[in-house]
């Protein structure tokens, strides 16, 4: 084997190894930096939820413009978890067959559910012991959920995101 071929192959192999590494990084790039982006997103809705007046003004705009694509847990033990919303309802509770299984001492086995209707998501309490709150207000019947307004269940807090 000529020396040149071996030298070229030697460096070629190392380059190929790094190409593999960067290809893997390229494939997972989107959620590699997803955490960094969500950091900014978490901060934004705080101001929305700060005053209820603003929060009630928001949904009118939201309904026309952007629809909710994600459900994000912003507080509690599952904080950081995000669920991509489809057309199926999302059940929340301690029961293992819930979509979002929360281990929260103040949550019931089947605590609440989120149901989509005509592009708008509704939260509904399923007879939980400690209640479900949309921002500060207790949820009594199916209530439309605007983007970025926290749904509180026990110590867990959830938000819809575009």
């Amino acid at each position: 084997m000529p020396e040149l071929v071996i030298t070229v192959a030697r460096f070629g192999f190392l380059v190929l190894l790094w190409i593999f590494v960067f290809t893997v990084v390229g494939v997972i790039r989107r959620d590699l930096f997803a955490g960094a982006r969500s950091g900014r997103l978490v901060a934004a809705p705080r101001t929305v939820g700060a005053s209820t007046g603003q929060a009630s003004a928001k949904p009118a705009k939201v309904k026309r413009g952007r629809a909710a694509h994600q459900l994000v847990v912003t507080a509690g033990q599952l904080a950081g978890t995000r669920i991509t919303l489809g057309e199926a309802q999302i059940t929340i509770g301690r029961a293992e067959d819930s979509t979002l299984v929360i281990t929260d001492d103040y949550a019931s086995a089947r605590h609440a559910r989120l149901v989509p209707r005509d592009g708008q998501w509704f939260v509904e309490d399923l007879g939980s012991t400690n209640g479900t709150y949309l921002d500060r207000a207790k949820v009594t019947g199916p209530t439309p959920v605007p983007l970025g307004v926290p749904i509180r269940i026990g110590r867990t807090s959830l938000e819809l995101r575009p």
Partner: protein, 495 residues
């Protein structure tokens, strides 16, 4: 509101199809990455033959092709059983596994008599055995994926697995040294020419138990505390479990004479507690306890000897390996020399002298490979480990139940810690201990256990990335009239 909203409302929402963007399974990306990885393994094999035999034999591609077939099989299994699993895990692990097999085959070539080298059978030697182990391990991983359709189902066996884990950890310690001792570390169970390392499986079993236990106890561990120096410290009585694990890991240190294993178990537990409670104080307590224990063992080894003597000796070698370069420090010195002679770009696959390294197929495989691919290649391998761990942690973030989070986070951390312990050992960052390098080292136990670990991570990442109304319909049952949830009793089901 009638809850029939689910199926009926679908036409209205099709315009914005939210799931479509995120719900890509990325299986084709996995396939192309896998083929790239296998091309690398084949190139490695060809270069080894070019360097060792001075010619590339027509059959150089056979081991790589066998591996490709095995991993393609695994890819198909994932495609059908865990379609939303992480696309980066399998190719990254396959590359490490393939390079491990390639390097071990390279050792066989160097060991064989010159006239036999050209026609070395594919399943011959340690390289061939590793290839066979890979086959078995991948089949086991596929079997685990098939059996465990939901990662939450293994929490049912948590106590059984915990008990099995403790038995497996303790087994080599209580067996006589003639069965369990290799190179001064009692980590093995030898039956004839066959030896297994039960600790490799124990770490998986124990982790399932830790995750299950902590999901139930995390409230107590994270909430009941008193503040001291700005850090929340847990109450004394809640320290019980962490102290028990600490004592067990110290017993492992003393009776199995292995710092790495004990560090692995203890670190695994502390990291899982930290993930469960988000309390920095647990990390501090863990570090203080471990270093205190290790220092105590060192002092006792100097003063008393006996069961602590081995640890004292290892620490001495670590502090000054060149004190006895041909005697106690031989392994470490040779490893450092190999890494040093590899330099930045290495001698090229097949161009080094790995046979000068003692234990090059197990503990020192990283030094052996490092001599041939240099710092440039080694750092690529370390980045691949890093990516595997990152994918594991990402799976932990994405999954929607606490047990899965703790399980995946703990498993990913364990893998990282094991790589740290062995690579830190051979590069003289920490005292050297006989850990296997995941996926690279020769040995069936390690390979099987690590592939099972990857199967669990794949399963958890599948659960985490699967869209809610996803294909499997595992998470919700969208169609049909919803169950009468109002009538359901508020039962407490702990996961």
């Amino acid at each position: 509101m009638t809850a029939a909203a689910t199926p009926a409302s679908s036409p209205a929402t099709t315009g914005e199809r939210p799931g479509v963007r995120m719900a890509r399974s990325r299986r084709n990306a996995e396939l192309s990455l896998l083929l790239l990885a296998m091309a690398l393994v084949a190139a490695y094999g060809a270069m080894v033959e070019a360097n060792v035999l001075d010619t590339v034999t027509p059959g150089f591609w056979v081991p790589a092709a066998t591996l490709t077939a095995v991993f393609l099989g695994m890819h198909l299994v994932i495609r059908f059983l865990a379609p939303f699993a992480d696309p980066a895990l399998l190719p990254a692990v396959a590359l490490l596994n393939g390079l491990g097999v390639g390097f071990l085959r390279r050792l066989d070539l160097a060991n064989a008599a010159p006239e036999e080298r050209a026609d070395l059978a594919i399943f011959a030697g340690i390289g061939g055995r590793q290839l066979a182990w890979t086959l078995i391990s991948v089949m086991l991983a596929a079997g685990l994926l098939a059996l465990m359709r939901d990662h939450r189902s293994i929490s049912r066996y948590a106590y059984t697995l915990g008990l099995a884990g403790i038995v497996l950890v303790m087994l080599p310690a209580v067996l006589p040294a003639s069965i369990s001792e290799i190179n001064g570390a009692k980590l093995w169970v030898r039956i004839g020419s066959f030896s297994i390392q039960p600790g490799e499986f124990a770490k998986l079993a124990l982790l399932v138990f830790f995750a299950y236990y902590l999901v139930r106890k995390r409230e107590v561990l994270s909430l009941a505390s008193h503040r001291f120096l700005g850090i929340d410290f847990p109450r004394g009585r809640d320290l019980g479990p962490v102290l028990v694990v600490w004592v067990i890991s110290l017993l492992v240190l003393v009776f199995e004479k292995d710092l790495g294993t004990s560090l692995l178990y203890f670190g695994m537990f502390v990291a899982t507690v930290y993930i469960a409670t988000e309390r920095v104080s647990w990390l501090l307590i863990g570090l203080v306890l471990f270093f205190g224990g290790a220092y105590l063992a060192y002092v006792l080894g100097e003063a008393v000897g006996g069961p602590f003597a081995n640890f004292y000796l290892r620490a001495q070698i670590w502090l000054d390996p060149f004190a006895q370069p041909y005697d106690d420090g031989y392994q470490l010195v040779q490893g450092l020399l190999a890494l040093g002679s590899g330099g930045l770009f290495g001698a090229g696959p097949g161009g080094g002298q790995p046979l000068l390294l003692p234990e090059v197929r197990n503990d020192f495989i990283f030094a052996g490979i490092g001599e041939e691919i240099g710092l440039f290649g080694l750092s690529a391998l370390l980045v691949i480990y890093l990516l595997i761990v990152e994918r594991g942690l990402r799976a932990a973030l994405a999954v929607r139940d606490s047990f899965g989070k703790l399980l995946a986070g703990g498993l990913a951390f364990t893998l990282a810690l094991q790589v740290f312990v062995i690579v830190g050992g051979i590069s003289k960052l920490i005292p050297l201990t006989g850990q296997t390098t995941p996926f690279l080292s020769a040995g069936g136990s390690s390979l099987m256990a690590n592939w099972l670990l990857i199967a669990v991570l794949l399963r958890v990442s599948d659960a985490g990335r699967r869209p809610v109304d996803g294909a499997g319909g595992k998470v919700t049952r969208p169609s049909g009239p919803p169950e009468q949830l109002h009538g359901a009793p508020t039962e407490v089901i702990k996961p």
